[in-house]
Protein backbone atom coordinates (compact mmCIF):
# COMPACT_ATOMS: atom_id res chain seq x y z
CA UNK A 1 0.00 0.00 0.00
CA UNK A 2 1.15 3.49 -0.69
CA UNK A 3 2.04 5.89 2.09
CA UNK A 4 -1.01 7.56 3.55
CA UNK A 5 -2.00 10.44 1.41
CA UNK A 6 -4.75 12.86 1.99
CA UNK A 7 -4.67 16.21 0.30
CA UNK A 8 -6.15 18.16 3.15
CA UNK A 9 -6.32 21.45 1.27
CA UNK A 10 -8.37 19.82 -1.43
CA UNK A 11 -10.56 18.13 1.20
CA UNK A 12 -11.14 21.49 2.84
CA UNK A 13 -12.33 22.95 -0.42
CA UNK A 14 -14.97 20.21 -0.54
CA UNK A 15 -16.61 21.55 2.62
CA UNK A 16 -18.37 24.84 1.93
CA UNK A 17 -18.84 25.67 5.61
CA UNK A 18 -15.12 25.83 6.22
CA UNK A 19 -14.87 29.08 4.32
CA UNK A 20 -17.23 30.69 6.82
CA UNK A 21 -16.29 32.57 9.91
CA UNK A 22 -17.29 32.21 13.51
CA UNK A 23 -17.25 35.31 15.71
CA UNK A 24 -15.43 37.09 12.91
CA UNK A 25 -12.60 34.57 12.64
CA UNK A 26 -11.96 31.73 10.22
CA UNK A 27 -13.75 28.72 11.62
CA UNK A 28 -11.77 26.00 13.34
CA UNK A 29 -14.25 23.16 13.66
CA UNK A 30 -13.15 20.66 16.27
CA UNK A 31 -16.51 19.08 17.05
CA UNK A 32 -16.86 16.43 14.36
CA UNK A 33 -17.37 13.68 16.94
CA UNK A 34 -20.61 15.44 17.75
CA UNK A 35 -21.55 15.93 14.13
CA UNK A 36 -19.36 16.15 11.06
CA UNK A 37 -19.58 18.87 8.40
CA UNK A 38 -20.92 17.99 4.96
CA UNK A 39 -19.00 17.91 1.70
CA UNK A 40 -20.47 19.55 -1.40
CA UNK A 41 -21.03 16.10 -2.94
CA UNK A 42 -23.54 15.19 -0.23
CA UNK A 43 -25.43 18.45 -0.61
CA UNK A 44 -25.44 18.08 -4.39
CA UNK A 45 -26.75 14.52 -4.28
CA UNK A 46 -29.68 15.56 -2.10
CA UNK A 47 -30.32 18.59 -4.22
CA UNK A 48 -30.27 16.51 -7.36
CA UNK A 49 -32.78 14.09 -5.89
CA UNK A 50 -35.20 16.87 -5.07
CA UNK A 51 -34.73 18.76 -8.30
CA UNK A 52 -34.45 15.90 -10.76
CA UNK A 53 -35.61 12.57 -9.48
CA UNK A 54 -37.87 12.85 -6.52
CA UNK A 55 -40.82 10.60 -5.80
CA UNK A 56 -41.82 8.30 -3.00
CA UNK A 57 -40.03 4.95 -2.91
CA UNK A 58 -41.46 1.43 -3.18
CA UNK A 59 -44.80 2.70 -4.46
CA UNK A 60 -45.13 4.51 -7.77
CA UNK A 61 -45.25 2.87 -11.14
CA UNK A 62 -43.76 5.75 -13.05
CA UNK A 63 -40.22 6.49 -14.02
CA UNK A 64 -39.46 8.99 -11.28
CA UNK A 65 -40.57 6.57 -8.62
CA UNK A 66 -38.48 3.86 -10.17
CA UNK A 67 -35.45 6.14 -10.24
CA UNK A 68 -35.90 7.17 -6.61
CA UNK A 69 -36.44 3.58 -5.49
CA UNK A 70 -33.45 2.23 -7.31
CA UNK A 71 -31.21 4.96 -5.93
CA UNK A 72 -32.56 4.43 -2.43
CA UNK A 73 -32.01 0.68 -2.64
CA UNK A 74 -28.66 1.28 -4.33
CA UNK A 75 -27.49 3.00 -1.16
CA UNK A 76 -28.43 -0.11 0.78
CA UNK A 77 -26.04 -2.13 -1.41
CA UNK A 78 -23.41 0.53 -0.93
CA UNK A 79 -23.75 0.47 2.86
CA UNK A 80 -23.58 -3.33 2.81
CA UNK A 81 -20.27 -3.21 0.92
CA UNK A 82 -18.99 -0.38 3.09
CA UNK A 83 -19.31 -2.38 6.31
CA UNK A 84 -18.77 -5.82 4.83
CA UNK A 85 -22.30 -7.14 5.29
CA UNK A 86 -23.08 -10.47 3.64
CA UNK A 87 -26.36 -9.26 2.19
CA UNK A 88 -27.97 -5.85 1.61
CA UNK A 89 -31.13 -7.15 3.25
CA UNK A 90 -29.21 -6.94 6.50
CA UNK A 91 -29.03 -3.15 6.24
CA UNK A 92 -31.92 -1.37 7.96
CA UNK A 93 -32.24 2.38 7.58
CA UNK A 94 -33.18 4.21 10.75
CA UNK A 95 -33.07 7.82 11.91
CA UNK A 96 -29.79 7.54 13.79
CA UNK A 97 -27.88 5.00 15.81
CA UNK A 98 -30.06 5.78 18.80
CA UNK A 99 -33.05 4.47 16.90
CA UNK A 100 -31.03 1.49 15.72
CA UNK A 101 -30.22 0.54 19.30
CA UNK A 102 -33.83 1.01 20.32
CA UNK A 103 -34.91 -1.21 17.45
CA UNK A 104 -32.69 -4.02 18.70
CA UNK A 105 -33.85 -3.44 22.27
CA UNK A 106 -37.49 -3.59 21.27
CA UNK A 107 -37.50 -6.30 18.64
CA UNK A 108 -34.67 -8.56 19.68
CA UNK A 109 -33.79 -8.26 23.35
CA UNK A 110 -37.15 -7.57 24.95
CA UNK A 111 -38.63 -11.01 24.40
CA UNK A 112 -35.44 -12.77 25.49
CA UNK A 113 -34.98 -10.87 28.69
CA UNK A 114 -36.48 -12.31 31.85
CA UNK A 115 -36.26 -11.65 35.53
CA UNK A 116 -32.73 -12.24 36.78
CA UNK A 117 -31.20 -12.00 33.32
CA UNK A 118 -28.42 -9.57 32.50
CA UNK A 119 -27.28 -7.13 29.86
CA UNK A 120 -23.61 -6.21 29.81
CA UNK A 121 -22.33 -2.81 28.69
CA UNK A 122 -19.15 -0.86 29.49
CA UNK A 123 -18.39 2.16 31.64
CA UNK A 124 -17.66 4.32 28.59
CA UNK A 125 -21.00 4.05 26.80
CA UNK A 126 -22.95 6.96 25.35
CA UNK A 127 -26.40 7.43 26.91
CA UNK A 128 -27.82 5.96 23.68
CA UNK A 129 -26.21 2.66 24.59
CA UNK A 130 -27.20 2.82 28.27
CA UNK A 131 -30.72 4.10 28.65
CA UNK A 132 -32.57 1.69 26.29
CA UNK A 133 -30.99 -1.26 28.15
CA UNK A 134 -31.71 0.26 31.51
CA UNK A 135 -35.38 0.63 30.63
CA UNK A 136 -35.59 -2.94 29.32
CA UNK A 137 -33.93 -4.25 32.46
CA UNK A 138 -36.30 -2.36 34.71
CA UNK A 139 -39.29 -3.72 32.82
CA UNK A 140 -38.02 -7.29 32.90
CA UNK A 141 -36.54 -7.30 36.40
CA UNK A 142 -33.14 -7.87 34.80
CA UNK A 143 -29.75 -6.42 35.75
CA UNK A 144 -27.59 -4.01 33.82
CA UNK A 145 -23.94 -4.97 34.30
CA UNK A 146 -21.12 -2.57 33.56
CA UNK A 147 -17.63 -3.65 32.55
CA UNK A 148 -15.13 -1.33 34.24
CA UNK A 149 -12.34 0.62 32.56
CA UNK A 150 -8.91 1.65 33.81
CA UNK A 151 -7.59 5.18 34.21
CA UNK A 152 -6.26 5.20 30.66
CA UNK A 153 -9.75 4.53 29.45
CA UNK A 154 -9.38 0.92 28.38
CA UNK A 155 -11.88 -1.81 29.14
CA UNK A 156 -10.52 -4.32 31.65
CA UNK A 157 -10.85 -7.40 29.50
CA UNK A 158 -10.53 -9.85 32.38
CA UNK A 159 -13.28 -8.08 34.28
CA UNK A 160 -15.39 -8.00 31.15
CA UNK A 161 -14.96 -11.73 30.76
CA UNK A 162 -15.92 -12.36 34.38
CA UNK A 163 -19.12 -10.42 33.85
CA UNK A 164 -20.23 -12.67 30.99
CA UNK A 165 -22.58 -15.07 32.72
CA UNK A 166 -25.08 -17.74 31.71
CA UNK A 167 -27.70 -15.06 32.38
CA UNK A 168 -26.21 -12.51 29.95
CA UNK A 169 -28.71 -12.01 27.14
CA UNK A 170 -26.85 -9.27 25.29
CA UNK A 171 -23.55 -7.43 25.25
CA UNK A 172 -23.64 -3.87 23.93
CA UNK A 173 -20.38 -1.97 23.43
CA UNK A 174 -19.07 1.13 21.75
CA UNK A 175 -16.59 0.48 18.99
CA UNK A 176 -14.89 3.78 19.78
CA UNK A 177 -15.56 5.98 22.81
CA UNK A 178 -16.91 9.42 21.93
CA UNK A 179 -15.19 10.89 24.98
CA UNK A 180 -11.96 8.99 25.50
CA UNK A 181 -11.32 8.08 21.89
CA UNK A 182 -10.53 4.53 22.98
CA UNK A 183 -10.75 2.06 20.13
CA UNK A 184 -12.04 -0.96 22.00
CA UNK A 185 -10.57 -4.37 21.21
CA UNK A 186 -13.97 -5.41 19.97
CA UNK A 187 -12.73 -8.34 17.94
CA UNK A 188 -11.47 -9.91 21.15
CA UNK A 189 -14.53 -8.90 23.17
CA UNK A 190 -16.90 -10.17 20.50
CA UNK A 191 -15.07 -13.49 20.45
CA UNK A 192 -15.47 -13.81 24.21
CA UNK A 193 -19.20 -13.23 23.93
CA UNK A 194 -19.60 -15.55 20.99
CA UNK A 195 -17.77 -18.40 22.70
CA UNK A 196 -20.64 -18.29 25.14
CA UNK A 197 -23.25 -17.77 22.43
CA UNK A 198 -24.18 -14.37 23.77
CA UNK A 199 -25.46 -11.93 21.13
CA UNK A 200 -23.44 -8.73 20.84
CA UNK A 201 -24.28 -5.30 19.50
CA UNK A 202 -21.63 -2.75 18.58
CA UNK A 203 -22.39 0.97 18.68
CA UNK A 204 -20.27 2.09 15.77
CA UNK A 205 -21.24 5.78 15.84
CA UNK A 206 -17.59 6.75 16.34
CA UNK A 207 -16.13 3.71 14.61
CA UNK A 208 -17.32 3.97 11.04
CA UNK A 209 -16.07 7.54 10.46
CA UNK A 210 -12.52 6.65 11.45
CA UNK A 211 -11.81 2.96 10.86
CA UNK A 212 -12.38 0.29 8.26
CA UNK A 213 -15.24 -1.90 9.44
CA UNK A 214 -16.05 -5.41 8.31
CA UNK A 215 -18.94 -6.78 10.32
CA UNK A 216 -18.46 -10.34 9.17
CA UNK A 217 -14.85 -10.34 10.14
CA UNK A 218 -15.71 -8.75 13.49
CA UNK A 219 -18.29 -11.44 14.15
CA UNK A 220 -20.84 -9.31 15.99
CA UNK A 221 -24.60 -9.72 15.62
CA UNK A 222 -25.65 -6.08 15.32
CA UNK A 223 -23.66 -3.01 14.31
CA UNK A 224 -25.14 0.47 14.25
CA UNK A 225 -23.96 3.85 13.06
CA UNK A 226 -25.28 7.29 12.40
CA UNK A 227 -25.02 9.15 9.09
CA UNK A 228 -24.38 12.65 10.36
CA UNK A 229 -21.05 11.73 11.94
CA UNK A 230 -19.96 10.21 8.62
CA UNK A 231 -20.30 13.51 6.69
CA UNK A 232 -23.87 12.55 5.78
CA UNK A 233 -27.08 14.39 6.55
CA UNK A 234 -28.93 14.26 9.86
CA UNK A 235 -31.91 11.98 10.25
CA UNK A 236 -30.44 8.84 8.78
CA UNK A 237 -28.59 5.97 10.36
CA UNK A 238 -28.07 2.26 9.90
CA UNK A 239 -28.53 -0.80 12.00
CA UNK A 240 -27.00 -3.91 10.56
CA UNK A 241 -28.06 -7.33 11.87
CA UNK A 242 -27.50 -10.91 10.80
CA UNK A 243 -30.22 -11.96 8.41
CA UNK A 244 -31.52 -14.98 10.38
CA UNK A 245 -31.88 -12.75 13.45
CA UNK A 246 -33.66 -9.99 11.53
CA UNK A 247 -35.87 -12.59 9.92
CA UNK A 248 -37.02 -13.92 13.26
CA UNK A 249 -37.53 -10.51 14.88
CA UNK A 250 -40.92 -8.85 15.19
CA UNK A 251 -41.30 -5.37 13.63
CA UNK A 252 -40.23 -2.30 15.53
CA UNK A 253 -42.79 0.15 14.22
CA UNK A 254 -45.70 -0.72 12.02
CA UNK A 255 -47.76 0.82 9.26
CA UNK A 256 -47.20 1.21 5.56
CA UNK A 257 -44.21 -0.07 3.63
CA UNK A 258 -43.43 -2.84 6.10
CA UNK A 259 -46.25 -5.20 5.20
CA UNK A 260 -46.77 -8.03 2.81
CA UNK A 261 -50.53 -8.05 3.00
CA UNK A 262 -53.03 -6.42 5.27
CA UNK A 263 -56.47 -7.74 6.00
CA UNK A 264 -58.48 -6.80 9.01
CA UNK A 265 -58.17 -10.36 10.26
CA UNK A 266 -54.43 -10.57 9.87
CA UNK A 267 -51.45 -8.74 8.53
CA UNK A 268 -48.29 -10.41 7.32
CA UNK A 269 -45.06 -8.52 7.35
CA UNK A 270 -42.57 -7.89 4.61
CA UNK A 271 -39.22 -9.63 5.00
CA UNK A 272 -36.25 -7.65 6.30
CA UNK A 273 -35.16 -4.96 5.84
CA UNK A 274 -38.56 -3.53 4.91
CA UNK A 275 -40.21 -5.08 7.92
CA UNK A 276 -38.25 -2.55 9.98
CA UNK A 277 -38.81 0.49 7.78
CA UNK A 278 -42.40 1.47 8.43
CA UNK A 279 -43.70 4.56 6.69
CA UNK A 280 -42.07 6.79 4.11
CA UNK A 281 -38.36 6.74 4.90
CA UNK A 282 -35.87 9.58 4.91
CA UNK A 283 -35.28 9.26 1.17
CA UNK A 284 -33.09 12.32 0.77
CA UNK A 285 -31.18 11.36 3.88
CA UNK A 286 -30.42 7.94 2.50
CA UNK A 287 -29.31 9.44 -0.82
CA UNK A 288 -27.08 11.86 1.07
CA UNK A 289 -25.64 9.01 3.10
CA UNK A 290 -24.81 7.19 -0.13
CA UNK A 291 -22.92 10.23 -1.38
CA UNK A 292 -21.11 10.49 1.95
CA UNK A 293 -19.97 6.89 1.68
CA UNK A 294 -18.76 7.54 -1.87
CA UNK A 295 -16.88 10.53 -0.56
CA UNK A 296 -15.23 8.54 2.21
CA UNK A 297 -14.40 5.70 -0.18
CA UNK A 298 -12.92 8.23 -2.58
CA UNK A 299 -10.52 9.45 0.09
CA UNK A 300 -9.95 5.94 1.39
CA UNK A 301 -10.82 5.09 4.97
CA UNK A 302 -7.22 3.97 5.61
CA UNK A 303 -5.93 7.32 4.41
CA UNK A 304 -8.46 9.01 6.65
CA UNK A 305 -7.36 6.94 9.64
CA UNK A 306 -3.71 7.68 8.94
CA UNK A 307 -4.30 11.42 8.55
CA UNK A 308 -6.28 11.61 11.75
CA UNK A 309 -3.73 9.55 13.59
CA UNK A 310 -0.92 11.89 12.63
CA UNK A 311 -3.01 14.84 13.71
CA UNK A 312 -3.90 13.16 17.00
CA UNK A 313 -0.24 12.65 17.82
CA UNK A 314 0.55 16.24 16.98
CA UNK A 315 -2.39 17.53 19.01
CA UNK A 316 -1.67 15.31 21.99
CA UNK A 317 1.87 16.59 22.19
CA UNK A 318 0.74 20.17 21.72
CA UNK A 319 -1.88 19.94 24.45
CA UNK A 320 0.46 18.17 26.81
CA UNK A 321 2.88 21.05 26.46
CA UNK A 322 0.32 23.27 28.14
CA UNK A 323 0.88 23.13 31.87
CA UNK A 324 -2.32 22.78 33.90
CA UNK A 325 -3.93 20.69 31.17
CA UNK A 326 -4.99 17.13 31.73
CA UNK A 327 -6.04 14.76 28.96
CA UNK A 328 -8.67 12.13 29.67
CA UNK A 329 -8.27 8.96 27.67
CA UNK A 330 -4.81 7.61 27.01
CA UNK A 331 -5.61 4.31 25.40
CA UNK A 332 -2.89 2.78 23.28
CA UNK A 333 -5.29 2.43 20.40
CA UNK A 334 -7.08 5.74 20.11
CA UNK A 335 -9.16 7.68 17.60
CA UNK A 336 -8.75 11.42 17.09
CA UNK A 337 -10.73 12.59 20.10
CA UNK A 338 -9.11 14.64 22.85
CA UNK A 339 -11.02 15.27 26.04
CA UNK A 340 -9.32 17.47 28.57
CA UNK A 341 -9.59 19.75 31.56
CA UNK A 342 -7.72 22.90 32.48
CA UNK A 343 -6.88 23.43 36.13
CA UNK A 344 -9.26 25.91 37.68
CA UNK A 345 -11.27 26.58 34.51
CA UNK A 346 -14.65 24.99 34.01
CA UNK A 347 -15.10 23.35 30.57
CA UNK A 348 -17.97 25.73 29.75
CA UNK A 349 -15.73 28.69 30.25
CA UNK A 350 -13.12 27.07 28.03
CA UNK A 351 -15.85 26.58 25.41
CA UNK A 352 -16.86 30.23 25.55
CA UNK A 353 -13.34 31.60 25.30
CA UNK A 354 -12.54 29.27 22.41
CA UNK A 355 -15.77 30.25 20.67
CA UNK A 356 -14.61 33.84 20.82
CA UNK A 357 -11.41 32.76 19.11
CA UNK A 358 -13.34 31.03 16.33
CA UNK A 359 -12.62 27.55 17.69
CA UNK A 360 -15.60 25.21 18.09
CA UNK A 361 -15.20 22.46 20.66
CA UNK A 362 -17.66 20.55 22.80
CA UNK A 363 -17.88 21.15 26.53
CA UNK A 364 -20.19 19.23 28.79
CA UNK A 365 -20.97 15.68 29.79
CA UNK A 366 -20.96 14.38 26.19
CA UNK A 367 -24.02 12.23 26.87
CA UNK A 368 -21.85 10.02 29.03
CA UNK A 369 -22.58 11.08 32.60
CA UNK A 370 -21.55 7.74 34.15
CA UNK A 371 -18.18 8.14 32.45
CA UNK A 372 -17.85 11.68 33.84
CA UNK A 373 -18.49 10.22 37.27
CA UNK A 374 -15.87 7.54 36.67
CA UNK A 375 -13.31 10.33 36.24
CA UNK A 376 -14.76 12.43 39.05
CA UNK A 377 -15.82 15.42 36.96
CA UNK A 378 -19.16 16.86 35.89
CA UNK A 379 -17.95 17.95 32.47
CA UNK A 380 -14.98 17.84 30.12
CA UNK A 381 -13.85 19.87 27.14
CA UNK A 382 -13.41 17.88 23.95
CA UNK A 383 -11.66 18.59 20.68
CA UNK A 384 -12.28 16.02 17.97
CA UNK A 385 -10.30 15.95 14.76
CA UNK A 386 -11.42 15.00 11.31
CA UNK A 387 -10.32 14.84 7.69
CA UNK A 388 -10.56 18.60 7.19
CA UNK A 389 -8.54 19.56 10.25
CA UNK A 390 -4.95 20.65 10.04
CA UNK A 391 -2.01 21.30 12.31
CA UNK A 392 -2.90 24.93 11.94
CA UNK A 393 -6.25 24.21 13.57
CA UNK A 394 -4.45 22.52 16.43
CA UNK A 395 -2.13 25.51 16.81
CA UNK A 396 -5.12 27.83 16.99
CA UNK A 397 -6.67 25.60 19.64
CA UNK A 398 -3.48 25.73 21.67
CA UNK A 399 -3.22 29.51 21.38
CA UNK A 400 -6.84 29.87 22.46
CA UNK A 401 -6.21 27.63 25.46
CA UNK A 402 -3.29 29.81 26.49
CA UNK A 403 -5.62 32.81 26.28
CA UNK A 404 -8.09 30.96 28.47
CA UNK A 405 -5.44 30.37 31.08
CA UNK A 406 -4.38 33.99 30.88
CA UNK A 407 -7.92 35.16 31.51
CA UNK A 408 -8.61 32.81 34.37
CA UNK A 409 -5.05 32.54 35.69
Amino acid sequence: MSVASLDVESVRRDFPILSHCMRGQPLVYLDSASSAQKPRAVLDAMDELYTQGYANVHRGLYELAEWATSHYEGVRDKVARFIGAADPREIVFVRNVTEGINLVAHSFVRERLGSGDEILISAMEHHANIVPWQILCEQAGAQLRVAPIDDRGEILVEEFEKLLSPRTRLVALAHVSNVLGTVNPIRELIALAREREIPILIDGAQGVPHLPVDVQELGCDFYGFTGHKLFGPTGVGVIWGRLPLLDAMPPYQSGGDMIESVRFEKTTFAPPPHKFEAGTPNIAGVIGLGAAIDYVNGLGIRNIAAWEHGLLEYATEALESIGKLRIYGKAKNKAAVLSFALDGVHPHDIGTVLDQEGVAIRAGHHCAQPLMERFGVSAMARASLSIYNTRDDVDRLVRALHKTLELFG
Partner: protein, 153 residues
Amino acid sequence: MDDLRELYQTTILDHNKSPRNFRELEDANRRAEGYNPLCGDKLTVTLLVDADDRVEDVGFVGSGCAISTASASIMTEFAKGKSRAEIEETFERFHELLTGSPSEPAEAPELGKLAVFAGVREYPLRVKCATLAWHALKAALENREEMTLVKTE
Protein backbone atom coordinates in the same frame (compact mmCIF):
# COMPACT_ATOMS: atom_id res chain seq x y z
CA MET B 1 -10.11 39.55 24.31
CA ASP B 2 -12.21 42.69 24.78
CA ASP B 3 -15.47 40.87 24.18
CA LEU B 4 -14.40 38.27 26.67
CA ARG B 5 -13.62 40.91 29.26
CA GLU B 6 -17.14 42.20 28.75
CA LEU B 7 -18.42 38.79 29.78
CA TYR B 8 -15.80 37.83 32.31
CA GLN B 9 -15.63 41.04 34.30
CA THR B 10 -13.02 41.27 37.01
CA THR B 11 -15.70 40.95 39.67
CA ILE B 12 -16.93 37.72 38.11
CA LEU B 13 -13.43 36.28 37.89
CA ASP B 14 -12.84 37.23 41.50
CA HIS B 15 -16.04 35.62 42.79
CA ASN B 16 -15.31 32.54 40.71
CA LYS B 17 -11.91 32.19 42.32
CA SER B 18 -13.05 32.87 45.84
CA PRO B 19 -16.78 32.35 46.09
CA ARG B 20 -18.43 34.02 49.10
CA ASN B 21 -20.76 32.14 51.43
CA PHE B 22 -19.54 28.90 49.94
CA ARG B 23 -20.88 26.58 52.61
CA GLU B 24 -23.89 24.63 53.70
CA LEU B 25 -25.70 26.28 56.59
CA GLU B 26 -25.92 23.90 59.50
CA ASP B 27 -29.01 25.59 60.87
CA ALA B 28 -30.74 25.93 57.49
CA ASN B 29 -34.52 25.73 57.44
CA ARG B 30 -34.81 25.80 53.65
CA ARG B 31 -32.77 24.23 50.92
CA ALA B 32 -33.01 23.52 47.24
CA GLU B 33 -30.85 21.97 44.64
CA GLY B 34 -30.43 23.63 41.29
CA TYR B 35 -29.57 21.33 38.46
CA ASN B 36 -28.86 22.25 34.87
CA PRO B 37 -29.62 19.13 32.86
CA LEU B 38 -27.90 20.60 29.83
CA CYS B 39 -24.47 20.66 31.38
CA GLY B 40 -24.87 18.54 34.49
CA ASP B 41 -23.92 21.40 36.81
CA LYS B 42 -25.39 21.19 40.28
CA LEU B 43 -25.53 23.51 43.19
CA THR B 44 -27.29 23.54 46.51
CA VAL B 45 -28.59 26.64 48.22
CA THR B 46 -29.28 26.55 51.95
CA LEU B 47 -31.19 29.27 53.75
CA LEU B 48 -32.08 30.40 57.20
CA VAL B 49 -35.25 32.47 56.99
CA ASP B 50 -37.22 34.13 59.75
CA ALA B 51 -40.96 33.87 60.34
CA ASP B 52 -41.60 36.57 57.70
CA ASP B 53 -39.56 34.81 55.03
CA ARG B 54 -36.71 37.25 55.41
CA VAL B 55 -33.32 35.71 54.63
CA GLU B 56 -31.09 35.80 57.68
CA ASP B 57 -28.34 33.70 56.23
CA VAL B 58 -27.60 31.93 52.99
CA GLY B 59 -24.92 29.65 51.61
CA PHE B 60 -24.29 27.65 48.48
CA VAL B 61 -22.16 24.68 47.49
CA GLY B 62 -21.62 22.91 44.22
CA SER B 63 -19.54 23.07 41.11
CA GLY B 64 -20.15 25.03 38.00
CA CYS B 65 -18.63 27.35 35.46
CA ALA B 66 -17.31 30.80 36.30
CA ILE B 67 -20.63 32.41 35.41
CA SER B 68 -22.73 30.14 37.59
CA THR B 69 -20.28 30.17 40.50
CA ALA B 70 -19.87 33.93 40.48
CA SER B 71 -23.59 34.45 40.06
CA ALA B 72 -24.33 32.22 43.05
CA SER B 73 -21.69 33.96 45.13
CA ILE B 74 -22.90 37.47 44.32
CA MET B 75 -26.47 36.35 44.83
CA THR B 76 -25.75 35.19 48.37
CA GLU B 77 -24.20 38.56 49.18
CA PHE B 78 -27.26 40.27 47.84
CA ALA B 79 -29.86 38.02 49.43
CA LYS B 80 -28.74 38.37 53.02
CA GLY B 81 -31.30 40.44 54.94
CA LYS B 82 -33.71 40.65 51.99
CA SER B 83 -37.38 39.72 52.06
CA ARG B 84 -38.81 37.12 49.74
CA ALA B 85 -40.60 39.82 47.76
CA GLU B 86 -37.42 41.84 47.29
CA ILE B 87 -35.55 38.79 46.09
CA GLU B 88 -38.21 37.77 43.61
CA GLU B 89 -38.44 41.29 42.26
CA THR B 90 -34.69 41.50 41.81
CA PHE B 91 -34.52 38.11 40.15
CA GLU B 92 -37.04 39.30 37.61
CA ARG B 93 -34.96 42.39 36.85
CA PHE B 94 -31.83 40.32 36.72
CA HIS B 95 -33.43 37.93 34.29
CA GLU B 96 -34.51 40.83 32.10
CA LEU B 97 -30.96 42.14 32.11
CA LEU B 98 -29.64 38.76 30.96
CA THR B 99 -32.16 38.19 28.24
CA GLY B 100 -32.44 41.72 26.92
CA SER B 101 -31.51 42.46 23.34
CA PRO B 102 -27.74 42.84 22.97
CA SER B 103 -28.30 45.99 20.94
CA GLU B 104 -29.98 47.85 23.79
CA PRO B 105 -27.80 49.41 26.42
CA ALA B 106 -27.70 47.26 29.53
CA GLU B 107 -28.36 49.80 32.20
CA ALA B 108 -29.58 48.55 35.48
CA PRO B 109 -28.40 50.84 38.24
CA GLU B 110 -30.95 49.32 40.61
CA LEU B 111 -29.22 45.97 40.30
CA GLY B 112 -25.95 47.26 41.69
CA LYS B 113 -23.20 44.68 41.59
CA LEU B 114 -25.49 42.19 39.83
CA ALA B 115 -25.16 44.31 36.70
CA VAL B 116 -21.70 42.81 36.07
CA PHE B 117 -23.54 39.97 34.38
CA ALA B 118 -24.87 42.18 31.60
CA GLY B 119 -22.33 40.67 29.20
CA VAL B 120 -24.14 37.35 29.40
CA ARG B 121 -26.85 38.70 27.10
CA GLU B 122 -24.41 38.24 24.23
CA TYR B 123 -24.27 34.52 25.00
CA PRO B 124 -27.81 33.12 25.14
CA LEU B 125 -26.45 29.65 25.91
CA ARG B 126 -24.97 30.97 29.14
CA VAL B 127 -28.09 32.60 30.56
CA LYS B 128 -28.95 29.40 32.36
CA CYS B 129 -25.58 29.39 34.04
CA ALA B 130 -26.21 32.84 35.47
CA THR B 131 -29.71 32.02 36.70
CA LEU B 132 -29.17 28.53 38.12
CA ALA B 133 -28.51 29.70 41.69
CA TRP B 134 -31.40 32.15 41.53
CA HIS B 135 -33.80 29.43 40.49
CA ALA B 136 -32.62 27.35 43.41
CA LEU B 137 -32.98 30.28 45.80
CA LYS B 138 -36.49 30.99 44.56
CA ALA B 139 -37.46 27.33 44.94
CA ALA B 140 -36.07 27.23 48.44
CA LEU B 141 -38.10 30.30 49.38
CA GLU B 142 -41.28 28.94 47.86
CA ASN B 143 -41.01 25.49 49.20
CA ARG B 144 -40.90 24.17 52.66
CA GLU B 145 -39.91 20.76 51.48
CA GLU B 146 -36.43 19.62 52.21
CA MET B 147 -35.36 19.17 48.62
CA THR B 148 -36.56 20.68 45.42
CA LEU B 149 -35.07 19.79 42.13
CA VAL B 150 -35.09 22.74 39.86
CA LYS B 151 -34.62 22.44 36.19
CA THR B 152 -33.71 25.71 34.63
CA GLU B 153 -35.87 26.96 31.82
